[in-house]
Symmetry: C2
Subunit: 344 residues, 2 copies
Amino acid sequence: MTNLTQRIHIIGEALPNLPWQNKPEGYEFPVWRHSDNPVIKRNPVKGVARIFNSAVVPYEGRFVGVFRAETTNGRPHLHLGWSEDGLSWQIEEERINFVDEQGESFQPNYAYDPRVVRVEDTYYVIWCTDFYGAAIGFASTKDFQTFTRLENPFLPFNRNGVLFPRKINDKFLMLSRPSDSGHTPFGDVFVSESPDLVHWGKHRHVMAKGGQGWWQAVKIGGGPAPIETSEGWLMFYHGVTGTCNGLVYSMGAVILDRDEPSRVKYRASTFVLTPEEWYEERGFVANVVFPCATLHDAGTGRIAIYYGAADTYVGVAYTTVEEIVQYTIDHHEEIGDDSTIGKM
Amino acid sequence: MTNLTQRIHIIGEALPNLPWQNKPEGYEFPVWRHSDNPVIKRNPVKGVARIFNSAVVPYEGRFVGVFRAETTNGRPHLHLGWSEDGLSWQIEEERINFVDEQGESFQPNYAYDPRVVRVEDTYYVIWCTDFYGAAIGFASTKDFQTFTRLENPFLPFNRNGVLFPRKINDKFLMLSRPSDSGHTPFGDVFVSESPDLVHWGKHRHVMAKGGQGWWQAVKIGGGPAPIETSEGWLMFYHGVTGTCNGLVYSMGAVILDRDEPSRVKYRASTFVLTPEEWYEERGFVANVVFPCATLHDAGTGRIAIYYGAADTYVGVAYTTVEEIVQYTIDHHEEIGDDSTIGKM
């Protein structure tokens, strides 16, 4: 085991006002829950039954969220929400009005599992959209008022699109998880690059499901935007196992090479969070923790993780860059073709 | 019904030496079989049990084929073959040796259902390859001696990649059929564009399975490279129906808009060839006709279609541009979202 604790740090901006609680005394795991979870409960706004699997970013001194809002007719759409502290949220009653590049309304038939990633001065929303089946939808905004849809990056069927927060070798990079159009019983994570956010190529395999443990045996998928650290891109992701009564979603941690993110440097063999609390075990879909966003502070190394719980609630969990990166290094397991590099 | 017979013609080069037989007296359908089918029979060369679903192009006064060769260990690879008349073939015993852009050997784990399309002075081979599951493989050659692999255009899972034989609006265009990694029980045809054959985007839906008839109810997929005609891009494709004893593959015909090929102009409601003969009904996979290539002569409007039969043989069938285009116009049916244009 390598002890890198003294030099592990986040490369990025300070965010001293992110939500934070210290690790409880005697708690032995690398990720700990907010004491007052869930932070978004059932029926959070008129017409919305549940909010979960959602994205949060800092914006002009407060926080804005793009939320997967399961409307009371059972179809998911994306709603904005605002918060001063990242914990107490005002959710908008109307869904986001996406427009096309001519400014005409261009609403997705449905929209779920959003991620929001800032690259330079633009915020990109990535979600699962209907493109003759489940596919990755893509839009940009600079002000959280006008959301302009961009070309769908990939053919169907695909989910869990995650953009990197900066260009690498002058190219945009997006993770995704090719799937089928249903409750996909398989899935690995790939990365693709683009010079212009319109055309994508140089697709590479990043991570395989599987490993010695069974918690990620069925499929895996990207989570929040990767966090740049001194050891590489830290990414939380979801790993899924199967049981006689359905799937169970846990959270994993992986560190990808900074310059060549298709290369896995370290990948924790264990989950770092798994359904245990009532709001994770019980709900519309039992036994789901599904991370979609983080807030993180380069000054202190603190990380707040936003995750969907049981397809019903939003939970927050905490860690520090030192703790989670060291844990991932110490519990590294090479899985499947994770170490393959360069070739298609 | 429109009578366009007087002005329907192929836009392209003359190929007076293509294989040809006139339509049999009294035959009522728009596509007729070569009288001495199958033109490639079982065990065509040492180590190869069956050849089918293969591509043929004219090259330096004769014909060259890139053949799906099912080796005697049951795994498909691509073999070259040569012919003076397009009917009698010398198949090479060794598979094609693909190299990467540095010239190092880079063989696919398996390779099947090739198409070969010339764009300007380069021949592109497109096939189904193993990229952590079924995906579209891509290579180029100028001399049929060195085959250099290009970037896989799309993420898995996908099959039936078909390049257009010229750029449209200065972009390369490729049809494909997103799928799963097995015996996919669904599938529509999409088109994607590329400025550089590396990055692909602006994905559009082209054709849906379905329609009033049942012969293409399960899935469809592109066939030979589209033929440019005065009425639009003529494309033969495969349509699949399901039975209690498995799938049945027939051949359909469609005409796509010349400038915007995501738009279907005419699509025949009926198959234009369906398994009837012993070599189509019987074999490794019963009841398959699967077109992958055409030869066509702009001078006479003659078209020779190469199709796989029962995953065992290569068959040839004939039509003329006048006959098949008129048939497709006369039997037009709008299916599903075929007429959708422009939007994702």
